[in-house]
């Protein structure tokens, strides 16, 4: 009975795992990069000085003309206050894909002259929509359900050796054995994290899975929204925007009397209200508590804190998933766990192909599957590195620069899929893996020289942490890629 169940679960685990695994690899990879979105934005705007003066609330008023302009364009701008994680005052707005940010000096309120970039939030958008709007969001939500199914079947398959094989890693054994060990260690050891992310991620997107209207209408709506690829055009506000906003420093002080000293995270501007909101870093309970002010004379309109057990459950799950409450150490733990999740999907896909190569290696579907695996497992990291290269190499005066960075990312990814597919269809998949792994290694290895060559005011013995960490992670990725290419 148990054997039968295990066999059946094995089938389910392999097929559902492979079908959803290639997409989930992209979701986990982009997710672990999105954990450091603010830090990556700093890497992508190297002109901003690494050290800044202390925050002065009066500097907020210098941002107001730019806020007014954005509101007039129909955007919903917000100002992020400086924090231990990010020392600048930032004016942000969502362009339909990512949050575009402009840093300001936190003491004087003077705008810092930096390059336009999609920033680290590029990976955040990629993580939960695959840059395809509501349609992508739906696909990712269903992939989350598939992940829960795969985890459940995986636990049943591996129940016998769950404790004894917990740390059994044999990288020098036969190839299939070695990959199986990598898969099991990555999956079992990081199971709590992967389960938490799968459950909370699916929970957050529950509205996509269980829409309030019928599925048909919901899907129709999804296609209608995501079909046109035209640039994001915000609607002009129906309500008139006030000519001048009240000074923001007294508003922040007033809000802090309610939500706690030093707990203000950002200020959101709407034509009818100014929302002073609690910082996301205050704890795992993502309350988004806010005090609303009138944009005309600055009097308090209301204090909003959503009560109820269901709301608190949602807030905790969101808090744990978004990880905005974490310090540097915990953030690295999230990053590492996300990376191991990606390793789990990559190794699982490779095992799936290895097991079927002898029997079905000549079939066209197998070759297409292997081409897609190459394009996903190697192509996505290559695209991500190409995004960093594009940020430093594209002309600073280029119009629509953030969009161009995204296009470079997409072009490299598509090229990788096409090349992987071509090598696979020609019957030489190993060649495809090898070439792309070497390309990935090269892009990662030369990112450090590129950073040193293109970062203004670089000093070799005083490397700010965000730059050093990004370059070292790219170097490590290059080392792993070269090793894998060598051992294939």
């Amino acid at each position: 009975m148990q054997d039968t169940l295990r066999t059946r679960m094995g089938w389910l685990h392999a097929w559902v795992g492979f079908a959803a695994g290639l997409l989930l690899f992209c979701v986990f990879t982009s997710g672990c990069l999105a954990v450091f979105d603010t830090e990556l934005t700093r890497w992508l705007q190297p002109e901003a000085p690494p050290q800044t003066a202390a925050f002065s609330p009066r500097s907020l008023d210098h941002v107001l003309p730019a806020v007014h302009d954005l509101l007039a364009q129909g955007e919903k701008p917000f100002v992020t206050l400086p924090s231990a994680r990010d020392p600048y005052l930032r004016l942000e707005h969502h362009d339909g894909h990512e949050f575009l940010t402009v840093p300001y000096n936190p003491q004087t309120g003077e705008r810092l002259n930096v390059r336009a970039t999609a920033g680290g939030t590029f990976f955040y958008d990629l993580h939960y929509t695959m840059r395809s709007g509501v349609y992508g969001e739906t696909v990712v939500a269903f992939a989350g359900l598939a992940l829960l199914l795969t985890i459940g079947s995986g636990i049943i398959i591996h129940l016998k050796g769950l404790v004894s094989d917990l740390m059994l890693l044999r990288p020098f054994a036969a190839r299939l054995r070695a990959w199986l060990d990598v898969h099991v260690v990555a999956a079992v050891v990081f199971l709590p994290f992967i389960l938490l992310m799968a459950y909370s991620g699916t929970f957050i997107r529950a509205r996509t899975l269980f829409p309030p209207v019928s599925y048909l209408a919901s899907l129709e709506n999804a296609f209608r929204v995501s079909a046109p690829s035209a640039a994001h055009r915000p609607e002009k506000p129906a309500v008139p925007i006030p000519e001048a906003f009240p000074p923001l420093a007294p508003l922040v002080a007033e809000a802090e009397r309610t939500i706690g000293a030093g707990q203000t995270g950002y200020i959101l501007f709407q034509p009818q209200t100014i929302l002073v909101s609690r910082t996301d870093s205050s704890g795992p309970l993502l309350t988004r508590e806010h005090v609303d002010f009138s944009p005309v004379d600055g009097h308090v309109l209301r204090h909003v804190l959503l009560p109820g057990a269901i709301t608190h459950t949602e807030q905790v799950l969101k808090g744990l998933h978004y990880a905005r409450w974490t310090g540097v150490g915990m953030r690295w733990l999230y990053f590492l766990s996300g990376a191991m999740g990606a390793v789990m999907f990559a190794s699982g896909s490779i095992i799936f192909l290895m097991k079927r190569r002898r029997q079905s290696g000549e079939r066209i579907m197998f070759r297409i599957a292997e081409g897609l695996a190459i394009g996903s497992v190697v192509g996505l990291p290559m695209g991500a590195l190409a995004f960093f290269w594009a940020n430093r190499l594209l002309p600073i005066s280029l119009p629509d620069r953030p969009l161009a960075e995204g296009h470079v990312f997409l072009a490299v990814w598509v090229l990788s899929v096409v090349s992987g597919m071509a090598w696979s269809l020609l019957g030489r998949p190993l060649q495809g893996w090898k070439i792309q792994l070497f390309c990935l290694g090269g892009l990662g290895f030369f990112l450090t020289p590129l950073d040193l060559a293109t970062r203004p005011g670089v000093a070799f013995f005083h490397v700010p942490t965000v730059f050093a960490a990004t370059d070292l992670v790219a170097l490590f990725l290059a080392f792993v890629s070269f090793q894998m290419a060598r051992r294939l």
Partner: protein, 104 residues
């Protein structure tokens, strides 16, 4: 704090690995005699790590406790694989030398 938690978890997992016959066989090790005396320590370490996490910040103790366990397990798995490879090479070299000596 995170480093301390990872260290304590690694200690626990090393002791756990020393108790697993499969792990010992893989690294070509004998079960050490002192292992019996560390039984209590093995059971005390996980709650001790949890205590450290709670003392640091109660609201985030469980995520930190679990995440540091995962990282420690990965470190021990990598270390154990390295140890097994080292011992394999060591024993192979010793066997080759013994065979050469026998020939002489």
């Amino acid at each position: 704090m995170i480093a301390l938690c990872i260290f304590l978890w690694s200690l626990f997992l090393l002791l756990q690995a020393c108790h697993e016959p499969k792990m010992l066989r893989f690294a070509r090790l004998q079960k050490p005699a002192w292992l019996q005396r560390t039984r209590a320590l093995r059971f005390v370490l996980p709650p001790m790590v949890l205590g450290v996490c709670v003392a640091e910040r109660a609201s985030t103790a469980i995520p930190v406790w679990v995440a540091t366990f995962s990282v420690a397990a990965l470190l021990v798995a990598l270390g154990w694989a390295g140890l097994a490879r080292y011992r394999e090479l060591l024993l192979t070299t010793a066997e080759v030398r013994a065979a050469a000596l026998r020939k002489e």
